[in-house]
């Protein structure tokens, strides 16, 4: 079995573009659902807003692709209002129903034959990211690595080393300052901080040189991860402010918040739209990278995978909404490449006389079954998600 190949593709899934746009959508969903308690089941439609925004800019409006981001912004605000105005005064379940159906309506609307000249029908829109690709500082036909030792010139080596070292220190600091470690005193804090930094460096040494990307992918990844970092800081700052306090209070009991003189409706609307705009940026990144947008890539399944990835990472934590999607994709890619290795060229996997996989097409289904199993185990063993707060979780329903 080719373990090296499996590990490499898993790592690529961990850091890949799918993880990026999932993370952007999950950060938005975290703001909506994790912090404010809005059960939004239409996140895929917000992604589509961004994707169609950039697609339609060239295809329908005939303007520069950059207008697409403005269109996406407009679409997602409009969509947020469309979902929110009729439902945000009602109980949470109505929002869930309306968001899931509006998202489907949006998908069916853009793929309809009638509006083919606007949205491109079921085929969608393609070949619109030339301008985006021209901006790339990376050479399209060359491969790029992330590890400092893949390069010969000293500047790159030093810069990349500093970048990753800085990130490792950041991880160490974050680990040392996390609530559970802080509670155990400064001695433990110091050990955990230094330990986490060293472990991260070792992991990086092992991981980074395995990662190689083409110029275009490298360009999207750079843009994408910067965007993820910016939104993460945005969410982190917001949730430490009195605004965040109101949102969390609304999640707990909106009548209490109303009785204290806050306009719950307005706060919920702001959270819904803000989270939608974040997902919209994810859609922009995905569409620009592929240079194409198809309506069926923005169906219900995407919404639920994003929800799954977020719950996996842990609701109402900033780290969870980023690492959740990364792990989700790593697990998906891992099971996929692992099963492909197992079945080999004949496409059959037999264990003890029982045929588990008859042909290659079943791999896709089996891998989701395995992912579902893993998630069930996670929810049983760690219901608060990987980064969630167990203490908070324990207060549910009290």
């Amino acid at each position: 079995m080719n373990w090296d190949g499996i590990i490499n593709s898993t790592l690529r899934g961990f850091f890949g573009i799918d993880a990026v746009y999932f993370a952007l959508a999950a950060i938005g969903l975290n703001l909506q659902f994790g912090y404010t308690g809005l059960l939004n089941f239409g996140q895929a439609a917000f992604l589509a807003c961004g994707a169609y925004g950039v697609g339609m800019a060239t295809f329908y409006f005939g303007v520069s692709m950059w207008w697409g981001i403005a269109f996406g912004l407009g679409f997602s605000v409009l969509l947020g209002l469309l979902m929110g105005v009729p439902t945000l005064r009602l109980r949470a379940d109505y929002l869930a129903m309306v968001t899931i159906s509006i998202a489907e309506v949006v998908r069916l609307f853009v793929r309809s034959q009638t509006f083919r000249n606007v949205f491109g029908g079921a085929d969608g829109i393609s070949d619109f990211s030339a301008a985006y690709r021209r901006l790339s500082p990376f050479h399209p036909s060359r491969g790029y690595g992330l590890g400092p030792f893949q390069y010969d010139d000293a500047t790159r080596r030093i810069l990349l080393s500093l970048l990753w070292l800085g990130l490792a220190v950041l991880v160490g600091v974050a680990a040392a300052r996390s609530r559970r470690v802080r509670e155990r005193g400064p001695q433990v804090q110091r050990i955990v901080g230094v330990g986490a930094t060293i472990v991260t460096v070792l992991v990086m040494l092992w991981v980074l040189d395995r990662l190689r990307y083409s110029g275009y992918t490298m360009w999207t990844l750079t843009i994408g991860w910067i965007l993820v970092a910016v939104l993460a800081v945005f969410l982190w700052l917001l949730m430490r402010s009195p605004f965040g306090r109101v949102l969390k209070a609304i999640r707990e009991d909106e009548d209490a918040v109303r009785s204290l003189g806050k306009s719950v409706y307005s706060y919920k609307m702001q959270a819904l739209i803000m989270g939608g705009v974040m997902a919209m940026l994810g859609g922009v990144v995905r569409a620009l990278d592929r240079g194409s947008v198809q309506p069926d890539n923005y169906g219900r399944d995407v919404t639920f995978y994003i929800m799954t990835a977020l719950v996996l990472g842990g609701l109402a934590t900033v780290t969870g909404s980023i690492v959740g999607p990364m792990l989700f994709w790593a697990v998906l890619v891992f099971t996929d490449s692992f099963l492909n290795e197992v079945v080999g060229s004949d496409g059959v996997w037999e264990v003890g006389g029982i045929t588990l996989i008859e042909n290659v097409t079943q791999i896709g289904q089996i891998r989701f079954a395995l992912v579902g199993l893993a998630l069930m185990l996670l929810m049983i063993l760690r219901p608060q998600g990987l980064f969630g707060n167990r203490k908070e979780m324990a207060l549910d329903g009290r």
């Binding site: 945005f234 700052l237 917001l238 430490r240 402010s241 009195p242 605004f243 965040g244 306090r245 109101v246 969390k248 209070a249 999640r251 707990e252 009991d253 009548d255 209490a256 918040v257 109303r258 009785s259 204290l260 003189g261 806050k262 306009s263 719950v264 409706y265 702001q270 803000m274 203490k391 908070e392 207060l395 009290r398």
Partner: protein, 313 residues
């Protein structure tokens, strides 16, 4: 006159003192009772200085009239109790007045602000704050966060300001100081950084009341503040409620505990079947036939309003 004979029966051995020792500074009680002395003892009686006035407020659920209040005034600076048997419409009236439910018809105003079709959060911003029958502590927020949430007009509650901590940090510190002072007063300071979900039922009542005070209200509406509270804590809550009047606030509260009503309130409004059937001082109410009928059902099967003035058959 002053409610001094609440009696030690309701108290546990842990707190036997409060029954006899009337706290010295209750000047507001005398003022409130003097102002209400000349008010006629009848439903809908006009008050010399009302802070809350309601007219013709009614709400039906299908065929059931939940609330049908012709006229109600609440005297400023007084403690007014709203009592009545179960299903009398007390909580519904609370919900209507505070904007949590819409009435079918009726007008009402608070301190000069007309409140018809005014959303609940705006009514709260005018200075009328309410609590709930089922305590609403925000369980996954800490006690201090619960308190700070109560403060109004916070700059950092706009998201664009929230992103820049230097814009709201000063105000946050002031709010925190106010919150800490209230927590100390309500003896919750030791729970300051615990999740509100870890508090006991009685502590949650205290927290909810303290949080309501963070809005600097002029009218405090308490929906069954004593429900599910042990006797020792009841005395503490009693004192807190009297203290609100001392600090110039008006209190309107729903309660079933008659000892507490008698001890705390300056004026009592009695509801039955959605209507106000009697008003008066606690002493008047105790002997009122209509009230006894409403509670004990001496006139079962008959309308309560036909023979208001007669005695039981």
């Amino acid at each position: 006159m002053a409610g001094d004979e609440a009696g030690p029966t309701e108290l546990t051995a842990a707190a036997p003192v409060a029954a006899v020792v009337e706290p010295p500074r209750r000047a507001s009680a005398d003022a409130a009772r003097a102002a209400l002395a000349a008010v006629p003892r009848e439903p809908g009686a006009p008050k010399p200085d009302p802070i809350l006035v309601a007219d013709g407020v009614s709400r039906r659920y299908g065929g059931v009239v939940a609330v049908d209040v012709e006229h109600l005034e609440v005297q400023r600076g007084s403690i007014t109790a709203l009592i009545g048997p179960n299903g009398a419409g007390k909580t519904t009236l609370f919900n209507l007045l505070s904007g949590f439910e819409r009435p079918d018809r009726g007008t009402w105003s608070f301190d000069g602000h007309a409140l018809e079709r005014v959303p609940a959060h705006k009514a709260a911003a005018y200075g009328m704050v309410r609590t709930f029958q089922l305590t609403k502590s925000l369980t996954k927020l800490t006690v201090i966060e619960n308190m700070k949430l109560g403060a109004t007009a916070q700059r950092g509650e706009h998201w664009w300001n929230g992103l820049l901590p230097f814009l709201w940090r000063t105000q946050e510190r002031e709010i925190e100081a106010q919150a800490d002072a209230l927590l100390a007063q309500f003896r919750l300071e030791h729970m300051r950084s615990e999740y509100a979900g870890t508090l006991s039922g009685g502590q949650r009542k205290l927290l909810e009341m303290a949080r309501a005070l963070m809005t600097n209200p002029r009218l405090v509406m308490l929906d069954e503040p004593m429900a599910g509270v042990n006797p020792a804590l009841k005395q503490v809550l009693n004192d807190h409620i009297k203290d609100l009047r001392e600090r110039g606030m008006t209190v309107l509260f729903v309660e079933h505990d008659m000892d507490m009503v008698h001890d705390v309130s300056d004026w009592v409004v009695v509801m039955a079947e959605g209507r106000i059937i009697a008003e008066g001082t606690p002493d008047d109410i105790v002997g009122n036939e209509a009230v006894i009928d409403a509670y004990l059902g001496a006139h079962q099967g008959k309308s309560l309003f036909e023979d208001d003035e007669e005695g039981a058959p």
